[in-house]
């Protein structure tokens, strides 16, 4: 059943259209993550769902009810603000207890619920402090606490973990996911953290400049991006894009001339129309391996970043373009010393001149926006 439906939602600030017709369907209990470049309208969209921003056009339906003119509490939502919005005159305890006091719970109940939240959020020793004396991460946790003590039908989180350290972040991530499972509530979550998006989401919504570029499961977006934007946005480090010209299309293959880099044969059937066109080939850094493969070429590493778990090489190609490769562990590569890398063309992405993906089974018209 659809829990939250946005249809053709629009929002303008003055003459500036910020949200340009968004359609979205969220099922009950789903975990939806919004990602997109900074300033693309994620927070605005969230605030519209919450009822904090009036709607310039389109509809918002929650639980089958048109809610465009309902106040937040009638929409059954709780929200964590990107800017925290803590009450400066109240202690941490009172900040977290606020929604419960509004509901009129008994003092005991409140103590219990706030205590539980504080424990999860590791704020127990801070309960009597004021927000002004908290660290950035602590403030963010208080904001989360305030949202989770209420148990609404829909949670809206706006980058709730951005100020936390990796360890706490993982912990909180797991906490939020188990909360999600326990309550079965729908969650709409804005993040710019790839790991969060990939691990938490049932469904990722990629926004760009106020429109949806693609909606899909994390792996769908990773493996089958609809267009260059999504391909470039999902995955870190970013996909490499090499532009070339299609020289032939036959026997289920498209042959692309990548200039000095070489000629690659991509398994894509039935695209005779592409011949002669300029296309872009995408290669994920992590799909490259040292040494020869079905398609190989030479790269010259510039900066080499060794992260322990893997190594990033910022290279240049034969034609001088930049290229990033990622290798397992700590391989023996050195700045300025060229080497050969290989990739399986089946793992490469192909985009036509409009940036639309050309999929293996010729689904090029599948993108959603």
């Amino acid at each position: 059943m659809s829990q939250l439906v946005l249809s053709d939602l629009r929002k303008s600030f003055g003459d500036l259209e910020i949200i340009k017709g968004v359609n979205l369907d969220v099922s009950e209990g789903e975990f939806v993550v919004f990602v997109g470049p900074s300033g693309c309208g994620k927070s605005t969209l969230l605030r519209m769902i919450a009822g904090l921003e009036d709607v310039s056009g389109g509809e918002i339906v929650i639980g089958g009810k048109q809610v465009k003119d309902l106040p937040p509490v009638k929409r059954g939502i709780a929200m964590v603000f990107q800017s925290y919005a803590l009450y400066p005159h109240m202690s941490v305890f009172e900040n977290i207890a606020f929604p419960l006091r509004v509901e009129g719970l008994s003092e005991d109940k409140i103590k219990e619920r706030v205590g539980a939240a504080a424990k999860v959020l590791q704020l127990e020793s801070r309960l009597q402090q004021r927000p002004g004396t908290l660290s950035g991460g602590q403030r963010q946790r208080v904001a989360i606490g305030r949202a989770i003590v209420r148990q609404p039908k829909i949670f809206l989180f706006d980058e709730p973990l951005s100020n936390l350290d990796a360890a706490l972040r993982t912990e909180m991530r797991v906490e939020l996911m188990s909360l999600h499972q326990k309550l079965g509530s729908t969650m709409v979550y804005v993040t710019h953290d790839q790991v969060e998006a990939m691990t938490m989401a049932d469904k990722i919504v990629v926004l760009n400049a106020g429109t949806i570029e693609q909606i899909g499961s994390p792996l769908e977006l990773y493996h089958k991006p609809d267009n260059i934007f999504v391909a470039g946005f999902i995955g870190s480090p970013k996909m490499n894009f090499l532009s070339g010209t299609v020289t032939a299309s036959d026997r289920g293959n498209v042959v692309v001339d990548l200039g000095k880099v070489g000629t690659i044969k991509l398994p894509r059937g039935g695209h005779p129309d592409l011949v002669g066109k300029t296309v872009t080939v995408g290669m994920r850094p992590e799909h490259l391996a040292l040494g020869e493969d079905k398609f190989s070429f030479e790269v010259t590493p510039g900066i080499v970043e060794r992260l322990g778990i893997h190594t990033l090489a910022y290279c240049t190609l034969a034609d001088g373009k930049n290229f990033v490769a990622l290798f397992e562990g700590d391989p023996e590569i050195n700045q300025g010393v060229s080497f050969t890398v290989g990739i399986d063309p089946a793992k490469c992405q192909l985009f036509d001149s409009d940036g639309i993906a050309v999929h293996k089974e010729s689904q090029s018209g599948m993108h959603s926006s």
Partner: protein, 294 residues
């Protein structure tokens, strides 16, 4: 927050008590005053409708001089009040010992019944015995007494200074509250960038208190424009009418000479002038965005 009907309704509900009160108490007298301005109301029990006669009469006399004088008087008084008020707020905001005491000591001009405060200034200005003339003589700056209220020019400024004196405490504590609500990290950021105290004041404090300054200056403007007691007690509009402002003129007409009709006409004119002035003032001043202040 969404601009829904509910919000408007709620806002009206919040406003309603104050609105009802004001209408209940002030609306009738206001309408009555406007009404009066078209009659020859005076002490006699029966009054007659005279149309615009009262207004025409006003413009017969040297009214334009009075208007100009009123505006000049008001301008200087408000401007000085604002300048002193902001400076005082900044001084009293400094984290130095004793500021709590000084904040309190600032209040008396405002608390003391206005008439008394003005009498005290009257003595200060007194040429024979007053503190100012006395100190000037003691320090040898003048060789004889100076009667500050005895000459048009000096009486004009003397009344302004007294008005400033009474108005400064309110401006100061309001500005103080405004200054205190500026987030501290803005100052810290500016400081790290090398901005000195004065630069921080100019580029952060001042622009951030501009909204408060606009409000205060407008309230002050209205109060000052209608400032009566000070001039009345100190000079009665003299010498030779050099300190007669519109309100003094109105009072002399309405209460002094019991020409209520003509007085009401003057009062209505004052209100009109002020409304128009405030309207444009608010418009222009709010449009000058505070970020442009360098």
């Amino acid at each position: 927050m969404s601009r829904s009907k509910g919000a408007s309704l709620f806002a009206f509900c919040l406003l309603l008590p104050a609105l009802l009160y004001i209408t209940g108490i002030v609306a009738y007298p206001l309408v009555e005053t406007v009404n009066l301005s078209f009659t020859d109301a005076a002490l006699k029990p029966v009054t007659k409708w005279v149309g615009w006669a009262n207004y025409e009469k006003i413009f017969n006399v040297n009214f334009s001089t009075i208007i100009v004088r009123t505006f000049i008087w008001t301008f200087f008084s408000v401007a000085i009040k604002m300048i002193i008020g902001v400076c005082a707020a900044v001084l009293l905001n400094a984290a130095l010992p004793g500021r709590a005491l000084f904040r309190i000591l600032l209040m008396p001009p405002w608390i003391v019944p206005m008439a008394i405060g003005i009498f005290m200034w009257g003595w200060m200005y007194n040429g024979q015995f007053g503190m100012i003339s006395g100190l000037l003589q003691n320090f040898g700056i003048t060789d004889g007494p100076v009667a500050f209220l005895g000459y048009g020019r000096s009486a004009f400024w003397a009344t302004i200074i007294t008005d400033v004196w009474i108005g400064v405490p309110l401006v100061t504590i309001y500005m103080l509250a405004a200054i205190q609500s500026i987030p501290k990290d803005l100052y810290e950021a500016a400081w790290t960038d090398g901005a000195g105290r004065f630069y921080r004041f100019r580029r952060i404090t001042l622009p951030m208190i501009v909204p408060a300054l606009i409000t205060m200056s407008m309230l002050s403007l209205i109060a000052t424009f209608n400032s009566f007691d000070i001039i009345w007690i100190l000079t009665r509009g003299g010498p030779s009418g050099e300190t007669t402002t519109m309100i003094i003129d109105t009072y002399k007409t309405a209460i002094g000479s019991y020409k209520y009709g003509e007085g009401a006409a003057r009062a209505v004119l004052i209100c009109l002038f002020l409304s128009v002035f405030c309207f444009f003032y608010f418009r222009t001043v709010s449009r000058i965005s505070s970020g442009d202040i360098r």
